[in-house]
């Protein structure tokens, strides 16, 4: 420990040695070492299911390790519960945001440390403290609204704000940027850098490699429960890093897309004319064609999710008409599904998956719903479909019988996609489809989307990642302030053009 490389400012804050953690049937961490220095931002990388989240849960006492030791500032520690880690100065934002949706922002932000006397809470003080926490991130949120009424991205920011504390020594962030836009990400990075300057050690988990290069000092890669290596960020290039993560070269899959865009000559499968809903989204026009990917770009809160839900009927439109190739759309999810439309929602935990059901049951759910309750998909057929999907999307699970809530975050996301695909849709509405998905799988899913398109599927993809939109769309619809402000086609689809449009500068 004594010999430290240059550049890594502080002393060793946390040393984890020989960590082993098994879940029933799966060895998630196998003899893993991890070291974190004061004043560094340390990126923890690896494929979906590599064991990243498990490692930090072991660190914070959310899970008990089977073997190995953890030292904090040279002293061995054993956190029996997360509160102990918090008291020792380790603040954590877990991958699955664990705020209490029915409570207000203030209540959520001040849950752990309430202010007041004689057991009574002083809400005035609480609000002031909550406001201060939000200000650190430059976040403007109404304090009295419930957390559940905010978008996933805002919830993510609130969770980060909650974790930041005055006596934080170590900050752990598990995929904090998965659902954030560029602006929020930048704000978060500013905060991270200023904390780092104060000597705080930060663990940062992400699947965005640009962000790794932008903000981190060192990286540690896990693969399949084993530690592959640690390196200074300057010492490793992108190719090698990916090879370390997935154990092979990725090839140039991603670049392959940007090439041709299709001209939109396919048959029109859906037309929205003046579809909108008061106070949710101004009336918009949109057509989807077979074999075409339409990207949906816009800032957080610009109405991306709402547009997708209006088309699916999860939100009812109160103006305009929604026409399908074979009639009017039904204006509710059930009817949409029958008409061959399927939605992958943005928030996989609350709207996407049934955590207590198995991977198999989740995958066939939409397909079964489409068939109706009387014509049950036989067990054999269910298993066949589930196995096919598990293979096609490389879902890391021993078999289809594992409960979905026991999968790693990225693998859960894949199950959402698998369920949509299994219902053999003609129109797919994807809201942040690659949220939390690793580099390798990301490329594979984009390829899959491409192939499906060639087979005549129509796709609408809402995404906060502008690069992804640029790379995969044939046409891009841009939203701003709950209004569709235009479309880009062909040559016009560039990062710059989209950014200018969503930022609101006149073209």
């Amino acid at each position: 420990m004594a010999i430290m490389k240059a550049n890594t400012a502080g002393a060793t804050r946390i040393a984890m040695r020989g960590i082993r953690k098994a879940y029933p049937g799966v060895l998630a961490l196998d003899d893993v070492d991890f070291e974190l220095h004061g004043g560094e931002i340390h990126a923890l990388l690896g494929e979906n299911g590599a064991g990243k989240s498990t490692l930090i849960k072991v660190l914070t006492g959310a899970l008990q390790r089977d073997r190995g030791e953890i030292m904090l500032d040279g002293e061995p520690v054993n956190f029996a519960k997360t509160g102990d880690a918090q008291d020792a100065g380790i603040s954590t934002v877990y991958q699955e945001v664990n705020l209490i949706p029915a409570m207000t922002v203030t209540q959520n932000l001040t849950l752990e440390k309430t202010h007041g006397r004689f057991g009574f809470i002083s809400w005035r003080k609480a609000r002031a403290q909550a406001q201060q926490k939000l200000d650190r991130l430059g976040l403007k949120v109404e304090l009295n609204r419930t957390v559940g009424s905010h978008s996933v991205a805002i919830q993510q920011m609130i969770a980060i704000a909650r974790a930041l504390d005055d006596d934080t020594k170590v900050l752990v962030l598990d995929e904090p940027t998965a659902s954030l836009d560029a602006d929020e990400t930048a704000a978060l990075f500013d905060v991270m850098r200023s904390l780092k300057a104060k000597g705080i050690a930060i663990v940062f988990i992400t699947h965005f490699l640009e962000q790794v290069y932008e903000v981190s000092d060192r990286i540690t890669v896990l693969r399949n429960g084993c530690k592959i290596g640690t390196s200074l960020i300057g010492d490793i290039n992108r190719q090698d890093l990916i090879a370390m993560m997935i154990g092979r070269d990725l090839g140039e899959v991603e670049e392959a897309f940007a090439g041709e865009r299709r001209d939109g000559s396919g048959e029109v499968v859906l037309t929205a004319e003046g579809v909108g809903r008061k106070r949710v989204l101004a009336p918009f026009d949109l057509t989807l064609r077979a074999g075409e990917v339409v990207g949906l770009s816009g800032l957080l809160g610009s109405g991306r999710t709402e547009l997708v839900k209006l088309i699916f009927g999860a939100l009812k439109h109160d103006s305009g008409t929604l026409k399908l190739a074979n009639g009017t759309a039904g204006n509710n999810p059930r009817a949409s599904l029958d008409a061959g439309i399927v939605l992958c929602p943005e928030d996989r935990k609350s709207e996407g998956l049934v955590g207590e059901l198995s991977v198999r049951e989740n995958i066939i759910l939409s397909m079964q719903a489409k068939r109706g309750w009387l014509r049950k998909v036989s067990r054999a057929e269910q298993e066949k479909i589930a196995d096919e999907m598990i293979r096609a999307l490389a879902i890391a699970t021993p078999d289809g019988e594992k409960l979905v809530r026991q999968l790693s975050g990225g693998n859960q996301q894949k199950v959402v996609l698998a369920r949509a695909l299994a219902s053999s849709p003609r129109i797919m509405l994807l809201d942040e489809p690659t949220r939390g998905i690793d580099v390798g799988a990301h490329a594979e899913i984009l390829t899959l989307i491409r192939t499906l398109c060639e087979d005549g599927l129509a796709l609408l993809v809402a995404s906060s990642e502008i690069d992804e939109v640029v790379a995969s769309s044939d046409r891009v619809a841009v939203l701003r302030d709950r209004r569709k402000i235009g479309e880009l086609t062909g040559e016009d689809i560039t990062r710059d053009k989209i950014v200018t449009m969503i930022a609101g500068d006149n073209l």
Binding site: V26, E351, L365
Partner: protein, 339 residues
């Protein structure tokens, strides 16, 4: 990913089926010590008699209601009105027999009343969005009153009745075995077919597990919830028929009193969670047997009846603690740490 073998014993200990079965076995074995001859079975007047048969026999109404309750709890709901529904079904019988209907039709009236009650609950919960505990409390409170009003329709002073057919269903026997056990077996089988051989069970579990997600996945969550309460109303109606035919009296005030609590306990002992998302029909029946076996053993043990409820509560607590993940993990890890 790295797979590891789980030792057989750990798998069993982690399983949910073992504890209720074990509890039942322990109770029955203890009975053997308390009362010699506990396991004796005799044939009297062409029907089997004995403590074991008695437990099965008496468990039928609770088990029937528990089956419906299991489905409702699967949707993350609860039905407190089952006892009242049984009372209404019983009042229906007395009234229609008084009115001179054929007794087969009387049975349909009683079951129909159960279904209607279930539909009422289902409508309140699924379509009006009222919380299950409140929605079913309405019928729980008013249902016995409704039963008394039905009695009043025809004078109500003398609500007892004679019906060979209904009594045969409840207390008769076929080939030495009580008829109600056949009735129960048929209902269990039909319900199992509806739940497991169609996709209804999956939809109920999906809805109970995450209603919003199921809805977006295309499951008609409201209809599923409605159906669950309907099924529960029907099984409660059946329990009402069996209980009322047993006493040949419509007694809305006291028939099936507190049966909702036993039914809920049976579901929970069977491994069902009030958080919804899972239906275990077979284990629910075991749960009902555990409760009945306990009641019977306290009776034969000669303990003063005051102890009855306390002992019942203790045993139930014990089973539930063993089933809780946390407690079990604690116990299992003791095993593992010892070497």
């Amino acid at each position: 990913m790295k797979l590891i073998e789980q030792p057989f014993v750990r798998r069993i200990l982690n399983g949910r089926a073992i504890w209720p079965l074990l509890a039942l076995a322990v109770i029955l074995i203890a009975d053997g010590f308390i009362s010699p001859g506990f396991y004796e079975i005799r044939i009297v007047e062409g029907r089997l008699f004995g403590n074991l048969i008695d437990i099965l026999y008496r468990a039928v109404p609770t088990a029937l209601i528990a089956l419906g309750m299991a489905v409702v709890i699967g949707t993350r709901g609860i039905d407190l009105s089952v006892g009242s529904i049984a009372a209404i079904a019983g009042a229906m019988i007395a009234w229609r027999i008084q009115a001179g209907d054929p007794h087969g039709v009387v049975l349909l009236y009683a079951l129909g009343a159960g279904i209607l009650c279930g539909m009422w609950n289902g409508m309140l919960v699924a379509f009006l969005g009222i919380q299950p505990i409140i929605a079913t409390l309405i019928l729980m409170v008013s249902g016995r009153g409704i039963g008394m009003l039905i009695n009043l329709i025809y004078g109500g002073t003398d609500p007892s009745f004679q019906s060979d057919f209904l009594q045969w269903l409840s207390t008769g026997s076929i080939l030495f075995i009580p008829t109600r056990l056949y009735v129960f077996a048929v209902i269990f089988l039909l319900l199992w077919l509806v739940i497991r051989r169609t996709a209804l069970g999956l939809f109920v579990e999906a809805t109970g597990g995450n209603a919003a997600a199921s809805n977006l996945a295309g499951v008609n969550a409201k209809l599923i919830i409605f159906a669950a309460y309907l099924i529960c109303g029907l099984t409660a109606g059946w329990a009402g028929v069996i209980l009322t035919a047993d006493t040949h009296t419509s007694d809305p005030v006291s028939v099936a009193l507190y049966i909702e609590l036993d039914a809920i306990l049976a579901v929970v002992i069977g491994g069902g969670s009030l958080a919804g998302g899972r239906i275990y029909l077979g284990m629910t029946v075991i749960g009902a047997l555990v409760i009945q076996a306990l009641t019977t053993s306290i009776l034969i043990s000669g303990l003063p009846p005051e102890y009855n409820l306390i002992i019942k509560a203790l045993v139930v607590l014990f089973v539930l603690v063993l089933q809780s993940d946390n407690a079990r993990r604690g116990i299992v890890s003791k095993f593992r740490r010892s070497p």
